[in-house]
């Protein structure tokens, strides 16, 4: 036979039904602060871009660059190709780093 306490417990459990979300989670996520610890990633990337740009400025023979002669670029051993390829990779990496850093800050 059920005691009154059993009835109370049963009623309480019965009333413990699932409460549907109804956009609650979306409202919470919308209110979250924009940045948590992900500030670290863009900072590291931006620092790497700045250091990379300084090193590129320092090491690349920018003043003595061979002229961009397309006929010589076709030869794999040409100094024109290797120099310009290096410049292209360095500039490309710097641009990619800067874009990624800026996009992570959004």
């Amino acid at each position: 036979m059920n005691t009154p306490e059993d009835s109370i417990d049963a009623l309480l459990r019965e009333q413990n039904s699932y409460q549907s979300d109804n956009g609650f989670t979306a409202r919470v996520v919308k209110e979250l602060p924009r940045h948590r610890r992900n500030w670290l990633r863009p900072v590291i990337l931006l620092a790497a871009v700045i250091v990379g740009a300084m090193l590129a400025w320092w090491w690349l023979p920018l003043k003595n660059m061979p002229p961009l002669d397309f006929s010589k670029l076709q030869s794999l051993n040409s100094s024109v190709l290797s120099t310009w390829l290096t410049v292209l990779v360095v500039v490309g990496s710097l641009v990619w780093g800067a874009i990624t850093a800026l996009r992570s800050e959004e």
Binding site: R13, Q19, F24, R27, V29
Partner: protein, 174 residues
């Protein structure tokens, strides 16, 4: 593939993953909102505001969660603190003595069936009695977990449950 709460917490802590946090909210919103609705005497709007504040606090303080207690216990303790400070701000009297005086008055909707009676009767308990009963009898938490959430000794929780049930029996004429 379903992630455990611990996996989701790790993802939030490591990379600030808002999708992982959203999944945590989705999993736990129902019991937290139901508890706060009961604690605010059926004020669903206020309960949702408190629940939102609770989850925002969880986001801010997640790095202080040590994993010693269950995540739900930690979450409910933040929810109860939010309720308590909101009640304090509104100048609500939480003292059991004052609420006991209200309990003696007959409930207006006591004849609308047992289900409604229980809702009305719960509202006439003191906050501490109501919280202890909801956590242990409705959410199936242990006395120790409820004590941690309510920041009270285990003995006090047990007393509040006994006293609350006595009042419920009287109010429901069981």
């Amino acid at each position: 593939m379903s992630f455990t709460d611990t996996d989701l917490i790790a993802r939030v802590l490591l990379s600030g993953d808002q999708n992982a946090f959203a999944e945590l909210v989705r999993r736990h919103q129902s019991p937290v909102r139901a508890f706060l609705t009961r604690m605010t005497r059926g004020d669903a709007h206020q309960a949702d505001d408190l629940a939102q504040e609770t989850f925002l606090k969880v986001w801010q303080k997640l790095n202080t969660y040590r994993g010693g207690a269950k995540f739900s216990t930690w979450l409910f303790s933040i929810a109860f603190n939010e309720f308590r400070s909101a009640a304090r701000k509104r100048g609500e009297l939480l003292s059991a003595d004052i609420e006991e005086a209200a309990e003696e008055k007959p409930a207006p909707d006591m004849n609308q069936g047992l289900r409604l009676d229980l809702t009305a009767a719960l509202e006439r308990l003191s906050s501490n009695e109501r919280a202890a009963i909801l956590l242990c009898c409705q959410n199936g938490m242990s006395h120790e977990e409820a004590a941690q959430i309510l920041d009270s000794p285990v003995g006090t929780v047990k007393t509040n449950i006994l006293r609350g049930k006595e009042k419920l029996k009287r109010l429901l004429s069981l």
